[in-house]
């Protein structure tokens, strides 16, 4: 596998995840919408920490900020931090079975959302609705399918 190929797939999957993130949905589905872009960034941080990692996380977060953040740089920092943790521990996480990976992802998403919650409050845009925590769960549940789809070609080859 050439080194340029995962980068291309990374960008493509990130773009697709972004589209899924901003796709209009009915409000009851929207509350439970999984954080697709965060999952994709976490997957690539684990699978190819050199190609993507912190940089991919930061730029993805910046785009999320433009789309939905009250302050520019908030999602960027949170996502870069989550990506950094996954980059550092990628070998440990990779060796775990799916269920434990999902639990790790749950913790990472909780950290990500908690950081956003803190930054929202600190920057004066508090959002205390309990609904903001729901998508952590749906994201953790969706981790296995996302990882299977993204890793599909590598596992076959």
């Amino acid at each position: 596998m050439s080194s340029g190929e995962p980068r291309l797939r990374m960008l493509f999957s990130a773009l697709l995840a972004l589209v899924l993130t901003v796709l209009p949905l009915p409000s009851y589905l929207d509350i439970a919408r999984p954080p697709f872009l965060v999952l994709v960034v976490l997957y690539w941080s684990m699978a190819a920490p050199r190609a993507g990692g912190v940089g991919l996380g930061w730029f993805s977060g910046l785009i999320l900020d433009v789309f939905q953040g009250p302050v520019l740089g908030e999602h960027a920092l949170a996502l870069a931090a989550a990506a950094y943790i996954f980059c550092r521990e990628h070998q440990k996480i990779r060796s775990k079975p799916e269920f434990q990976q999902s639990l790790i992802v749950l913790a990472a998403l909780a950290f990500y959302e908690g950081f956003l919650f803190f930054m929202d409050a600190y920057s004066g845009h508090p959002l205390t609705s309990p609904f903001r925590w729901i998508h952590i769960l749906t994201g953790a549940i969706l981790w296995t399918p996302v990882a299977i789809i993204l890793g599909y070609r590598e596992r076959r080859s």
Partner: protein, 390 residues
């Protein structure tokens, strides 16, 4: 089975993730600080919003295409029914606005202005809400107009029923708007029945506003109409906002719990209207940036203190009561703030009677009260100084 690439890549390329993360973290903090404290990131946001707009359009295109298809396959009967309904509505509106010109002129004359004021809205521009989720828990929308059409930050956004929101970020072809139902949005309102001014904040869902700053004994009841008060520098006075649905008074709470439902179809609107207002109109939003509030009108000088009332010489003041009532200082406290206003009350009286000649006579003192009212209105918005335009 573990996911991920089998076999690790060469680890000695580029700086370590920790170092890179530190760099990005510092960068994030700088960006956040500049965006939050100084607003220096407006340019960057502008560029990023321009870059993001194609993606947003592409994402919203399937739903738009579906809507377009539904519209084009609409049956002839449905179209005819809609046409009928619109014609009826048009007739109703025409009848309602038939006397508008005459009423506006009459209103101007009653206020001592020489001509009726032009409507406060100078320019309208319809905008479409781009069908996209900005943030489900914050009530924000994206519209398809930007700076190329002259949209600016903090511009008022209406729909055909009332106020719906204001612009928060502008891109070249798109703009982000915050709706009045967003928990971070507050709109200065006035209760139409009593003239009581307060602030309505968004309750977080699309259906309701909260009025958290009304004392428990405030004169407010369900069914009251909320209009914009013209304070705050964004919305002009007199536009409908919401109707109060629920007033809950608790004996142990100092404040009443009041809920209102916005007139605008906040959750179902597809089209909104951007409005430009005449800055010199009395009903225009008070501008906070020009410093008008600090400088004021030089013509409006404080009145010298009224002469002290003659004190009753004897304690049994039953005979003194009529004389204290007829002292000129106590006649009209509002008009006494403008020196020319009190002088001109008799001079303007003939025009109020309705004789056309009297209104057209070039009276040298005639413009003075008009100018004073015009200048005084944005600063001292007493209920009769701010005309309400329909």
């Amino acid at each position: 089975v573990a996911f991920g690439t089998p076999g690790s890549r060469s680890q000695a390329r580029g700086p370590s993730p920790g170092f890179r993360f530190s760099l990005y973290a510092i960068l994030s903090f700088v960006v956040m600080f500049l965006d939050q404290r100084h607003g220096w990131m407006e340019q960057a946001r502008f560029a990023l919003q321009a870059a993001a707009y194609p993606i947003q359009l592409a994402v919203s295109s399937p739903t738009n295409a579906w809507g377009w298809m539904q519209e084009s396959f609409e049956t002839r009967d449905a179209l005819r029914a809609e046409n009928e309904r619109l014609k009826k509505q048009d007739r109703l509106l025409a009848i309602r606005s038939m006397r508008y010109e005459a009423l506006a002129r009459e209103n101007g004359e009653l206020r001592g202005l020489r001509d009726a004021l032009p409507p406060v809205a100078e320019k309208w521009l319809a905008a479409e809400i781009v069908n996209i989720e900005i943030n489900s828990l914050r009530q924000r929308v994206l519209i398809n107009r930007g700076t190329t059409q002259g949209v600016f930050k903090a511009q008022a956004l209406l729909d055909d029923k009332g106020v719906i929101g204001q612009i928060t970020h502008v891109g070249p072809w798109s703009a982000e708007a915050i709706l009045i139902t967003d928990p971070e949005h507050a709109i200065p309102v006035e209760i139409e029945r009593t003239g009581l001014r307060t602030i309505a904040v968004g309750a977080g869902d699309a259906q309701s506003l909260a009025l958290p700053y009304l004392p428990g004994n405030a004169d407010v009841k369900a069914g009251d109409l909320l209009l914009t008060s013209g304070l705050g520098g964004v919305f002009p006075a007199g536009y409908p906002v919401a109707r109060i649905t629920e007033v809950h008074r608790d004996a142990v709470q100092p404040l009443a719990q009041v809920r209102a439902t916005p007139f605008a179809d906040v959750d179902t609107d597809r089209e909104v209207v951007l409005v430009w207002f005449r800055a010199d109109h009395p009903a225009a939003p008070t501008s906070l940036t020009t410093g008008d509030l600090k400088t004021g009108n030089p013509k409006l000088q404080p009145q010298p203190a009224p002469p002290p009332r003659p004190k009753p010489a004897n304690p049994d003041g039953s005979a003194q009561a009529p004389t204290t009532l007829t002292t000129p200082a106590g006649t009209d406290s509002r008009n006494s703030t403008t020196p020319s206003g009190t002088v001109n009350v008799p001079a303007a009286a003939p025009s109020k009677t309705g004789t056309p000649g009297a209104a057209a006579t070039p009276d040298s003192k005639e413009p003075a009260p008009g100018e004073n009212t015009r200048a005084a209105a944005p600063k001292k918005p007493s209920p009769d100084a701010t005309p309400r335009n329909p």
